[in-house]
């Protein structure tokens, strides 16, 4: 049973009495039923039933329907008289004034019509007061605009007469004025010079004064130049144009804001108590907004409908696909497609379909929520927003969503779709024999790498082991090197700080691919380093680092130390310089040794402030493809241990790279990618959880 409240509540939450007397009676009876003792209840219930049966003949309802009928004819007449009026004033005023006049005309018609009904319905009250607001303001606006428009027309007319003698005269006047100014300036400067000579003012003060005089002179000339008829006229027109366009917009906004204010304070009264609009329009976003009377808003929500029914659903059903079959393609993977069909493309289009559907569902739900909320509030008495209000709130509350949309779009389609595809790929059997078409194989790939089996999976554990060792040793080495170099360089007794700092910056500044490639050249069979090492060790045959797995690894670690220390050096230097000197002085007084100061003050300070960046260095090195691949392509190769695909210095990332691009074991590559991505995520999660950044965003 529909339960009514005795009062209505507007947007702000103010209480208003009902104007619908019939509903008021119903509400009162319902209230009495709720509060009365059981014996009296039957009496009230009967009364209520009686009231409801005679709903149509209730005096209020009779007058309300009469009003509605009147209103209908009035509206019809109004639109006709509006047409007539606009024909009448057509061509007599500027477009802006015409718009204002029509607005004024409409409100002038509405005010007397709605006035007698203000006690009957809140809608009538609102229309009446809206008309009043418009009438109150419209004259002022019209006057303002027409005044400025006339002035502009005058200015434009005046422009035609400008020129000839007048202009010449003015120009000559300006020229004279300039001359006078210049003379005055010179005189001023001369008097200033004199002051210097007498020693009254300093040289600096003279310069400042001179600059000021110059500015003053230029400004005076500028002001005078507006007296030129041409220039003055141009400026005047510009300013008037600004006044007219901006002023008009501003006045209309003020008017709309006043009306919006009125709407917020005037409730709405409807007989319905269930927000059915939302459910009615669930499958057709936009329709519900129409039912709620928000027409312009509805246009935008219809776009959601179009997206859902024209793009998302057909695409995921397989229409308009490039090659795939929508979501179905995800399951079949082109198994019984034509020869040219590629499983991978079916997979990507399937993934795309899934994301499109998710988008569509979210958007449809948003529309549903919107309609539901407006409808529910309307039952309480809140008037639905008009387009002006919606637009305003959209630009404020909707702002973060609107501006993050491009970011979300790029992230979904360029980051998430490929990652999802890789994830799916790891459960398929895409290998050199099955490039174009491949089936789902479940966890087979993960099993292969876990057990270290197969051509591609054989080397996994070795490579993982080396990757971990590499990450820990190379990064720690770089950090230690950078830190100690920074400490030494910043020692107060060391001279030539700038020199050392500039040199230590170089490994970071020179693009690393260049230095790595050059190192690769130097360590090649007849390269410089090979020669030096051979000489140093006094060996008979040339010692080629690149041919020896252990030497290669050690060299790589040193190269990374060379490359990575630079950045840590810069970071630590920054922190070191910000450590207050008093700490060290206090330690000195307490008799601390240099080592104790380093251990108890410097090290904790630097580590604490750079911790997230240091963690970043570890993950960076875990994925440091360039140094491994560009130095020796992951080699030297050792087929008995690693198989033919990987070398003994390959990291997981270069291994994945080789699997996916050179050897076409995409599925196993994808499985390994998933494993390390998960690992890195967990690592990063624990890293971030303890960092300030995370805690801060957590508490907000």
């Amino acid at each position: 049973m529909a339960v009514y409240n005795e009062f209505l509540y507007d947007t702000i939450g103010n209480e208003h009495p009902r104007k619908n007397l019939y509903l008021l009676e119903v509400a009162r009876l319902q209230e009495q039923i709720r509060n009365s003792a059981k014996s009296d209840k039957t009496e009230f219930v009967r009364e209520l039933r009686e009231l409801k049966r005679n709903r149509k003949s209730h005096p209020y309802n009779v007058s309300l329907s009469a009003f509605k009928k009147d209103e209908k004819t009035f509206r019809k007449n109004l639109s006709e008289s509006k047409k007539a009026y606009s024909r009448e004033i057509k061509g007599r005023f500027s477009p802006k004034i015409t718009r204002l006049k029509i607005l004024g005309f409409l409100s002038g018609q509405m005010e007397p019509f709605y006035k007698p009904f203000t006690g009957l319905s809140y809608d009538a009250l609102m229309h009446y007061e809206e008309a009043l607001i418009i009438q109150r303001q419209i004259d002022g606006v019209t006057e303002f605009i027409s005044e400025h428009e006339t002035a502009m027309a005058d200015a434009k007319a005046a422009r035609k007469t400008i020129g000839g003698e007048d202009n010449k005269k003015a120009r000559a006047g300006l020229f004279d004025f300039k001359k006078i100014q210049r003379q005055k300036y010179k005189a001023d400067i001369a008097s200033l010079r004199k002051k210097i000579k007498e020693g009254i003012i300093s040289k600096k003060a003279f310069e400042a004064e001179k600059a000021q005089l110059k500015k003053k002179q230029a400004y005076a000339i500028l002001v005078k130049s507006y007296e030129l008829p041409g220039k003055g006229n141009r400026e005047l027109i510009k300013s008037l144009h600004y006044q007219v366009t901006k002023g008009f917009r501003r006045e209309i906004t003020v008017l709309n804001a006043n009306i919006a204010d009125l709407r917020r304070k005037t409730p709405v009264e409807i007989t319905r108590v269930v927000p059915v609009n939302a459910f009615l329009s669930f499958f057709l976003p936009g329709f519900g907004q129409v039912l709620n009377g928000q027409y312009i808003k509805a246009i935008f929500f219809f776009l959601i409908s179009i997206f859902t029914y024209v793009i998302a659903i057909p695409y995921s059903l397989g229409y308009a696909n490039f090659q795939g079959d929508g979501i179905a393609g995800l399951i079949s993977l082109a198994a019984d497609g034509s020869k040219l069909d590629k499983s991978l493309i079916f997979m990507i289009e399937g993934t795309l379909s899934v994301y499109l559907i998710i988008f569509a569902v979210v958007l449809v739900y948003i529309s549903f929520r919107d309609v539901f909320k407006v409808d529910r509030d309307r039952i309480r008495g809140v008037r639905p927003r008009n387009w002006f209000e919606t637009k305003t709130s959209l630009f404020e509350e909707g702002f973060p969503y609107m501006v993050s949309f491009p970011a979300m779009f790029v992230i979904v389609f360029i980051v998430l779709v490929p990652i999802t595809t890789t994830m799916l790929l790891s459960f398929t059997g895409m290998d050199p024999q099955n490039q174009s078409k491949f089936p789902w194989v479940g966890l087979e790939n993960y099993k292969l790498i876990a057990l270290g089996q197969g051509i591609a999976g054989k080397a996994f554990w070795y490579i993982l082991g080396w990757s971990v060792v590499w990450t820990l040793v190379a990064t720690t080495l770089a950090i230690a090197l950078g830190f100690f170099l920074a400490v030494f360089t910043n020692n107060e007794r060391i001279k030539g700080k700038l020199f050392f700092r500039t040199i230590y910056l170089l490994p970071w500044a020179v693009p690393s691919f260049i230095t790595i490639m050059f190192f690769s050249i130097m360590f090649s069979p007849n390269g410089a380093m090979t020669e030096i090492i051979t000489k140093l060790l006094n060996a008979d045959a040339a010692i080629v680092v690149k041919y020896n797995p252990m030497l290669s690894r050690i060299t790589l670690i040193f190269i990374q130390g060379w490359l990575g220390s630079s950045y840590i050096f810069l970071l630590s230097t920054g922190v070191l310089q910000s450590i207050p000197e008093d700490l060290y002085e206090a330690a000195q007084i307490d008799g601390a040794t240099a080592w104790q100061k380093l251990k108890r003050i410097t090290l904790p300070m630097v580590l604490f402030q750079t911790a997230p960046l240091l963690i970043g260095q570890y993950t960076f090195n875990f994925n440091n493809f360039s140094v491994i691949y560009l130095f020796n392509g992951g080699g030297p190769f050792n087929p008995t241990k690693y198989g033919n695909l990987a070398g003994s210095t390959d990291l997981l990332i270069s291994y994945i790279f080789k699997l996916t691009t050179d050897n076409q074991y995409q599925s196993i590559g994808a499985a390994i990618t998933m494993v390390i991505s998960l690992g890195l995520m967990v690592f990063a999660f624990f890293g971030f959880r303890n960092s300030k950044a995370f805690k801060k965003s957590d508490t907000e």
Partner: protein, 297 residues
Amino acid sequence: MKKQKHKNALYLSDRQPLAFAGKIGVLMMYIILASWAAAIIWPLYQMIVSAFNGRQGSYLILNREFEFSWEHFEYLFEETLYLTWVKNTIFIAVTTAIVILLIVSFTGYAYSRYRFKGRRASLMAILLIQTIPTFAGIAAYYAMHTIISNIIPAFSRQMMLVLIYAGGGIASNTFILKGYIDSISTELDDAGRMDGCSSMKVYRLIIMPIARPMLAVIGLWSFIGPFMDYLLPRVLLTSPQTYTLAAGLFTLINDIRNTNQPAFAAGGLLTAVPIVIMFILLQNQLVSGLAKGSVKG
């Protein structure tokens, strides 16, 4: 003589006089610092020398006699596609920087100033997404490019590369910029709003001018990233005409058919010089920008 002695006895420093052990320590520090400096300079010096040494053949050999010549640079410009690579690299790097700046300046502002639904969840998602390495999508990029370029024929592999770099850079840079904008007082926003600024105007007239130094740093890093990357160009770009510098220069030492190590040294030198100058001039901004972003979050 007496005077001299007197002068020696006068010790005019805040610091304690060094004991013998301390003197040894300082000396050791100098030795370490100097040898590390030498270790840095030596390979770079070798590169510069070999780039200008006319006596070097296509393989670099130590202690060759030196004879100054522009020969390798001439080879670089005439026989290789060096200039095309420079053009490609600059195109990719600049476009990436612009796309990232455009997107991130908005998201950084939105995440810093607005408390909207889904903010925390998406921040978390951003944090996790940025840990997934960009190469995770390698296998899909190819096929995706095939699909897109079939719909939009003008969509080149380089543009795909730009999009991938941009997609990879949004998350972390949003975070960095958010941290920076957090440190700008909201009273400025309030003042602007009182004067009738809309969100867009606050962004344009207040936040962006103040955040400009950070935007410059983000732009610079977004420019440097694609510049230095080798992996993705190697995967996505297939013809030498479309290579970036990293991929192109590698062919000079890796590909037996056109190996020319001195020319590589020359190309590396040419590429490194502007970057090194930029880094030396802007080192404080580059480092502090990164540090700020990560600490304040």
